[in-house]
């Protein structure tokens, strides 16, 4: 945009889409904020009234809130660790010259294309089912008692399912990063007598650090709002209800639109806090 005129013309031309996008984003947000200040229960619509911050106070002091917050963080943190560490290892394996490399790659990436609901159903009914599941069969065939996953280790089960879905994404990004490592650098390291482990920590890891931060950032955004996997498998409960699920329960079971809106806004604020710190860390990482 060189001249004043082209700048003005350019602004005019992008204005419609910018305005549309802005409305698209802001209208639901403003409506949610508005609802969050109302006493608004669907079963009792006549009692609708302005109550200020009461919904927030109720939501934050809800005995389930802290549990949900903890579950959210545990879920996000565990899946991040598993998918980033696991993804790096898988990528290291896929980077080797193996027979049928392209098919292996396609298979590794496949879980990413399965809908969360579907994958949760598969895990629930075909793998983790204590009677007819594959894991139960495996355990029995070596003489162990099958674990009832969703009763005894509900959070672990959800973490496993979600990690399974995100591992391919992490692997793929890491693989791309690995493959961009300069061939001559590997050879220089070979001549310098760098063993496999120092090679990974001194040369590979710094090289893929950027990709890793991008994976962490993107995954965090999605993991904060995991819902289907919980809904399908444990359907909540104290050890798996995260904040999105808590908001859902408020709206769906208590018909409390005001409370659910307040919860939604709290979730948005929470995501922003996390994103703020992440963006700073990532930005720092991307600088050098």
């Amino acid at each position: 945009m060189a001249t004043q005129q082209t700048t003005t013309a350019g602004r005019l031309l992008v204005a419609p889409s910018v305005i549309l996008l802005f409305l698209w984003m802001i209208v639901p947000l403003v409506m949610t904020i508005y609802f969050s200040t109302l006493h608004f229960i669907l079963t009792d619509p006549d009692s609708r009234s302005f109550i200020g911050l009461q919904n927030y106070i109720d939501f934050l002091s809800d005995p389930d809130f802290l549990g949900a917050l903890r579950n959210t963080l545990v879920l996000v943190g565990s899946v991040l660790v598993i998918s980033v560490v696991g993804g790096t290892l898988v990528a290291l394996l896929m980077d080797q010259q193996i027979y049928g490399q392209s098919i292996v790659r396609l298979m590794v990436i496949a879980p990413f294309f399965v809908m969360p609901t579907v994958s949760a159903l598969i895990w629930k009914n075909m793998l983790m089912n204590p009677v007819s599941g594959l894991f139960a069969w495996l355990a029995q065939s070596v003489g162990l008692t099958p674990i009832d996953w969703f009763t005894n280790a509900p959070m672990l089960s959800v973490i496993l399912i979600v990690s399974w879905q995100w591992l391919p994404f992490a692997s793929l990004i890491m693989l791309t990063a690995l493959q961009s490592l300069d061939e001559e650098q590997k050879e220089a390291a070979a001549l310098d007598g760098v063993g496999a482990i120092p090679f990974f920590f001194y040369i590979v890891l710094p090289h893929i650090a950027r990709a890793m931060t991008v994976v962490i950032l993107i995954e965090t955004i999605f993991l904060l709002s995991v819902f289907a996997e919980i809904y399908v498998t444990t359907n909540g409960g104290p050890s798996t209800t995260n904040i999105p699920f808590l908001v859902y329960e408020l709206a769906q079971h208590s018909y409390d639109v005001g409370g659910a809106s307040a919860g939604g806004i709290v979730a948005v604020v929470l995501a922003n806090i996390v994103a703020f710190f992440l963006v700073r860390v990532v930005g720092k990482n991307l600088e050098n």
């Binding site: 001559e184 650098q185 050879e187 220089a188 070979a190 001549l191 310098d192 001194y202």
Partner: protein
């Protein structure tokens, strides 16, 4: 100590011989240059010596010991890559020190060696910088520093100057020459630039399609090329080639004469010719002529020659300077 010997070394890539039975001996302390056109296998040969590629058959000997099955880090050689291959997230100091750290040398020894190398290479002020904060020439020096501190038996360079501009190339050429003078370590240097080869080498190995075309000192190659390939490859501007009666009369299939060994006359001479273009370089003039019945030739004249395009002249080769080649392109006589 660092003598390197190749015995019938062969390298196949997918059934195709890229290096086809190379025999070669590099003496301790010698500056050897591998030169040849693009794709002739120079880099491959160097990488075979370094151990970065496995040889298909034959032997590589370092100081008389067969190292054909020894890994690259155990061969005691350092390599400087065309792209420098510096570790981008390490400071210059750590880049230089890395191999020593990996070899678990004591801290003070490392410190001292890095300091010494940095001193030799004028890098002392840049030790804390990252590679991307350096100029091309400085990066090149870091790459050399990384090679020096390992105190290798021999240095291997793969076209180390090709990413630098012309002026810097001349300067780095001198610096590498000085380095060889002071370290007296064996160096093998790959280039496709025959000027680099002529100016730096004790010994030049001319490669053609994976085979050695000739091995010799720069002047041997210039004065007595053993075949047409070397005759054409060494020397700038390239040697003039003539076939037909003028070759037959001298008992050869092909004769060659360097541009600087041709005399020009306006009145009489062996080959009548027409001037196409005169390139004035100041110190020299390259006169490109079209010789009747033979074809284009270049004549190098000292100072400023007055020849104009279109002018008809006579060119005559200086008889003792003529190179004669037989039907197979091999040198005939002395």
């Amino acid at each position: 100590m660092g003598s390197i010997e190749l015995v019938k070394v062969r390298k196949d890539f997918g059934g195709f011989a890229v290096i086809n039975g190379v025999d070669l001996k590099v003496e301790d302390g010698e500056f050897t240059v591998f030169v040849g056109p693009s794709g002739c296998g120079k880099s491959t040969l160097l990488r075979l010596i370094a151990g970065l590629e496995d040889i298909s058959s034959g032997q590589v000997l370092i100081d008389g010991k067969d190292v054909s099955r020894v890994g690259p880090s155990q061969r005691g050689l350092s390599m400087v890559f065309q792209s420098y291959a510096l570790y981008p997230h390490m400071s210059v100091r750590n880049n230089i020190a890395f191999a020593l750290k990996m070899a678990k040398q004591p801290k003070d020894v490392i410190e001292q060696k890095v300091k010494k190398a940095a001193g030799i290479l004028n890098l002392t002020d840049y030790l804390e910088r990252k590679p991307r904060q350096l100029s091309g020439g400085q990066r090149q020096r870091v790459a050399i520093g990384r090679a020096i501190v390992r105190e290798p038996k021999a240095f291997l360079f793969d076209e180390p100057l090709s990413n630098l501009d012309a002026a810097l190339r001349v300067q780095m050429r001198l610096e590498i020459g000085d380095l060889h003078q002071s370290l007296k370590t064996t160096m093998i240097y790959v280039t496709h630039d025959q000027v680099e080869a002529m100016t730096m080498a004790d010994k030049i190995v001319v490669l053609n399609k994976g085979e050695v075309a000739q091995i010799g000192s720069p002047l041997e190659l210039y004065n007595r090329p053993q075949n047409l390939f070397v005759a054409r490859f060494i020397g700038s501007p390239t040697m003039n080639i003539a076939t037909g009666p003028s070759a037959a009369k001298r008992g050869a299939t092909t004769i060659g004469i360097r541009p600087e060994h041709v005399d020009v006359s306006a009145t009489a001479g062996e080959w009548p010719a027409k001037v196409r273009l005169a390139e004035h370089l100041g110190s020299d003039t390259y006169v490109h002529v079209e010789v009747d019945d033979i074809g284009p030739m270049t004549v190098r004249l000292g100072g400023e020659a007055p020849n104009q395009p279109g002018q008809r002249i006579f060119v005559t080769p200086q008889e003792p300077r003529i190179h004669r080649f037989d039907q197979q392109g091999l040198r005939v006589g002395g």
